[in-house]
Symmetry: none
Subunit: 237 residues, 2 copies
């Protein structure tokens, strides 16, 4: 049974971190990661809001970048509304829960953005899929803790049912994010040497497109190895 | 489609009434009833906590007793943990949602108790069934607003009505096989020029590996175009 890691990107209020921890533990999730929390960490306001979910806060890990926090993860969801500019699969909470439970091995994570602004495109592009809670189109007002609790709840519904997909274990597990990053970096360097990124101000957008193309398939380690070979071969002068 | 009425029995804080209203409206529920709210009604603390769900608060009805509030209801659930002393069916949120949606006509309601103590036995006995959110047996700490939001969410999962659901059609359709073949051919030619396929008797197996790597993602036309560009760029002498 794969338990997703809850990753809060630059959360603002300690209170909301505490509420998220409480929401998680209600549904059996314990692993919390924080990316550059605005008011530092530990935060004295988190504890009281956690209403006893102290274990989650004590074990929380802090990272400087989203990329670092996801380095050991295999399957990552970005909790956000759908985006025009992002070509990425969008799933509902139930599909997300099914997929996490079906993950044969490795780690899953769910990314949540800061309270006011939500996830930025750059963070979303680090995920494999977008997960969107279907809400009232005329009144969508889910706060951070509520989003965490709803997705934790959906995960636990499937955990209860003990849904196991026997066929999943026949598949090769997807490579971790850090392995995937290294492929993306390799390709970017190789392209850069050939003067591919032009004009310079388009570089970031182009690199994001390439990243989203390469993170879509969920390639295995073996497949990544083959692709490194391809890039090396093509780059030869 | 039967929309359940949310009934809060002697809620203590106006803030929690506002949060409950916000949770409801997120999932399309609008009818709120209050039984003898501790601090009277209207309560100035409810509005800010509702974050814009004012319509729910404005239309909220106040009753003196639970019995009065349920007078016009046909199917009533008491949101509480299961109780030894109560001989009453206990369902999960999903069963509750199914049953409410299956109600041919008439009104359904969900009862929630006051923040600190929860529903009293007397109020529970006015319901037809108990609904219990399955939570971590070692850490059960759902507050009033969270319980309201989870049950509202479960109701809305069953209601297709107007809630935005992520659909496959938002995604770009995968490219056709012939377009994919042309990418595979392009890569094979480029690699061949660099002497990648060696020894010759391994060529077919290697090309098959590459084909299976490239056909896995289901890339769109737009993505294929980008990849053709990448191969062209890398192949430059």
């Amino acid at each position: 049974m794969t338990k997703p890691i809850i990753v809060l990107v630059t959360p603002q209020l300690g209170q909301n971190i505490g509420k998220a921890a409480r929401g998680m533990l209600n549904f059996g999730l314990t692993e919390l990661r924080l990316i550059a929390p605005r008011d530092g960490w530990p935060n004295p306001e988190a504890g009281p809001a956690a209403s006893g979910a102290d274990i989650v806060l004590e074990k929380a890990q802090v990272f400087e970048t989203t990329k670092d926090a996801l380095a050991d993860c295999n399957l990552v969801y970005a909790s956000t509304v759908r985006r025009r500019e992002q070509v990425m699969p969008v799933v509902g909470p139930d599909e997300m829960a099914d997929e996490i439970h079906a993950l044969p091995q490795g780690r899953a994570a769910i990314l949540f953005g800061p309270e006011r602004s939500g996830l930025e495109a750059e963070d979303v592009s680090l995920a494999d899929k977008i997960v969107t809670v279907p809400i009232n189109p005329e009144f969508g007002s889910l706060n951070l803790a509520q989003a965490v609790i709803l997705l934790s709840y959906e995960w636990s519904r499937r955990a209860d049912a003990g849904l196991e997909k026997p066929t999943a274990k026949d598949l090769e597990p997807p490579a971790t994010k850090i392995e995937l990053d290294s492929l993306v970096d390799h390709l970017n360097r190789a392209l850069d040497e050939k003067g591919y990124f032009f004009p310079p101000e388009r570089t970031e957008a182009t690199q994001q497109t390439l990243r989203s193309i390469l993170t879509k398939p969920g390639w295995s380690e073996r497949e990544l190895k083959a692709l490194h070979g391809v890039i090396r071969a093509l780059s030869k002068g």
